[in-house]
Every structure is written in structure tokens, then in C-alpha cells.
């Protein structure tokens, strides 16, 4: 993102674009990647609840998967899953 000059930014250091952090894809930090074993998932929503990066995708209480744009691979989802339905694998396995 090109850096702006002093005339082009709001005064007072104010950021007037809420949620602009979404432009920063923290998924590039990942060293481990969560993999869902759908057959084991009981849709308890614990992974969604605990993900620090809001990277669990669910629809109306049904687990769908992960938002790899933001998932940092911390493994909390796998750790809290009562059904052991999430496995953390090295990100290198998914590099093209």
C-alpha cells in the first residue's frame, strides 16, 4: 500500500476507516495449518468461539472451514475441539 502524504490523511491521527486491518492478511504468518475432519465435527462451535483471529467460517452454527487469509495457525481450535476433529499440519504440505 503506497504511503500517503500529510495532506491526504485525516488530522489528529484519527483512522476513519473502521476495520481497515482486514486489508492486512495475517494468514501469511502461518507455519501450521488446521485441517478439518468433517466426519468427526459435532458443530459445537468451540473452535469458532475461541479463534483469536476470527478465522473459523461457520454458517448458522454449522462449521464450514477456515479463513486462510487470516488464520495464523496457532492451533487453539484443534486444542479446544472436544471431538478432535481438527488436525494441525505443517503449512509446507500446502505450498504449491
Amino acid at each position: 500500500m503506497a504511503l500517503k502524504g500529510w495532506k491526504d490523511i485525516p488530522i489528529g491521527g484519527v483512522i476513519d476507516e473502521p476495520g481497515k486491518a482486514r486489508e492486512y492478511k495475517t494468514g501469511t504468518w502461518r507455519v501450521l495449518r488446521p485441517v478439518l475432519h468433517e466426519d468427526k465435527c459435532i458443530h459445537c462451535m468451540f473452535c469458532w468461539l475461541y479463534c483469536p483471529d476470527l478465522a473459523i467460517v461457520q454458517e448458522q452454527g454449522k462449521m464450514k472451514g477456515f479463513d486462510f487469509d487470516y488464520c495464523k495457525g496457532c492451533g487453539l481450535c484443534a486444542n479446544v475441539c472436544p471431538a478432535k476433529a481438527i488436525e494441525m499440519k505443517p503449512e509446507t504440505e500446502f505450498l504449491k
Binding site: 504511503l3 500517503k4 502524504g5 500529510w6 490523511i9 485525516p10 488530522i11 489528529g12 491521527g13 484519527v14 483512522i15 476513519d16 473502521p18
Partner: protein
Amino acid sequence: MEKVYEKKALTGAEAVAYAMKQINPDVVAAYPITPQTPIVEYFAKFVADGEVDTEMIPVESEHSAMSAVVGAAAAGARAMTATSANGLALMHEIVYIAASTRLPIVMPVVNRALSAPINIHCDHSDAMAERDSGWIQFYVENNQEAYDLTILAVKLAEHEDVRLPVMVNLDGFIISHGVEPVELYPDDLVKGFVGEPKPLYPLLDTEHPVTYGPLDLYDYYFEHKRQQIEAMDNVKKIFPKVAEEFERTFGKKYDFVEQYKLDDADYVMVALGSTNSTIKYVVDWLREEGFKVGLLKVWMFRPFPKEQIQSILVGRKGVIVLDRSASFGAEPPLYEAIKSALYEAAVRPALGSYIYGLGGRDIKAEEIRKAFEDAINGNLIVDEQRFLGLRE
């Protein structure tokens, strides 16, 4: 047509509190400290009697006073506070934040010496320590000016091309506790002049959420500071307009500086604050004896009105600067500013620096006269630090 309104004998503190009453800000958060305390006391009584409907926060320290006022102003409220000396020093961190966050806060400062040793009397060390903070700074000569400039400050601070906080400095005890007649304007006139606040980026507007106080790395801090410099430059363009509207509304004329008997003055004294009254007396005294002397009273210290001062002082025979504060290890602040302003003057006057009045030390007419005489007798030494009223 000069309209004159009812005058009342008031202390400077009561006059300032009265101005605050007529402004009727949304929020006031203040912590008492001598000699500012009566301002808070008078205002608290107005609140308790329902004469204002300001929400007043009895904060537990000056640091919290400025913090609360920053929070309130960011939320979209017109917020004020007041302090002195060590109270101002305690809120120093947040004073900078208020200016860099561009919040139009107005704060009367009752000037008192900074510790140590602890001293409750008047000098300008407290406000001088904030001269780099990004606040607009006025110094007033008397109770009327304290009242007037508190009202004017609100309009200046909130101007959309300014949006900077304003400090109105009044000498501790001399102005704050001394009784003088003050012409008080009708409530509706003051209310009409200050108008309704138009906050920029109010926190309480949940439709347009904003983030205040982010972390700047080295890629943006410089640009944010450049914006503040621009705002200070704008003050020099906007203040005359605000002062003109003030004159139209209330009949009083304010400017960056006041020129007292300067038309043909060879020797000019420059000073801030209440001492200017005594200097005017001495100017009259010397003029009766045929000396061509005058006074340049500085009203606006920040932004420093360099251009005005240059044009007024160029070509004079001698300029004597009185500072009521010291900058240890360097020349005192007003002197330094005046000398620097005259660097490229076509004809540079002789210059002399006098520190006086620290810790409330009284300054006598005879002492001021002596400084003028130094100038008249060609006895000014630009690099020599002199003192008035100091026991050797």
C-alpha cells in the same frame, strides 16, 4: 458606537468562571490547585445551583482531568479544564496528546511557579514548559482580558481550519485573586458568539466509527506532526478573523500583540502578562520626562507572531525583553524568540534580557524604569543575563 455593558468588581478567577458559565460547556473535569482553585469552586457552585447544566467530573488528579477532557472532547463534547504549575506539569503527557489529537479544548492556566522549592506564586515557568506542546497560548494582562480571551478561545479552538486546544494564561494571585472591574457581556451574546460545537470524528457517532490514538511507526508520525505545524500556521490567518468578530460582537479589540505608545518609540519593552500594566505606567512616567519609550505587549505567544513583532521592532534603538521564567542553560524563552525574530532585520536594535518576578517576586515601577534607562543610556549587552528584583 461603543456599547458598554454592566461592570462588576470581580477577581480574575471569578471572571474566568463567569466566562465558563456563559459558555456553559458540556463537560468540565478539573482538579483544584492553588491559585486556580477559586475557578473550580465558583464553577462548582454554578453547577450545584443549576446555573449551568455542565456535567462536572471531580477527577482525582490533573492528569486525569486532561485525560477525561480528551475523552469527552473526542466523544464530541465541548470540554474545558483549568490548572496551574505542577498540575499542568502533571498533565504534561496528555497536554501533548490533546494537541496532537486536534481536540479544541480551552484551558485557563493560572500561572504559578513550578517546584522545587514549592512556591504558589506567580511566574510563567508552568506555561513555558508547554510551549512546544502544540497548544495555542495567550497571556492576559488583567481580569477583563482573562474573561474576554476565555470566550474568544472557544471560537478560535473550534474553527475548522484550526482545531487546536487553547491555553489562556493569567497571572497567579495578581490576576486570579486581585479584584478589578470587569465588563460582563449578556449571556445570549456570549452564547451566540461561541455557537454550537461541531465536533469532528465524534466517538459517540456509531454510524461512523473512528479509531483515536493509533500507533504511528516511523512511516507516518512525521506527517501527522507536519499537519500540526500547518494548523498552527493557519492560526495566524484565522485569529484576526475571530478577533474581528469578537470586536463586532463585544466591542473589544484583540490582536497578536498590543502596541502601547510605539509610534515614535526608540526604546521598546516586551513582556507577557500582568506586568504590562506596570510597564504602561512606567512608559507614561518616562514619556512625561521626554523619553521616547513604548511597550510591545505580547498577547499570543503560540503561535509566535514573528512577522508582527519583526515589523514593529525593526529599526528601534533598543529592545528590552522581560521574562518571568528562566530556561536553565539557555536564554529565557521570550528573549530567545524576540532575538531570533530579529536575526534578519535590516536594522537590528540593541537587545537586553531581564529575568524578573520568579516565584511571585514583586516587580516595582522603579525596577522597570531602570531597565528602560539601561536602554536609553546605551547600556544593553545582548549576551548578558540581567535580573530585576533579585538579591545578590
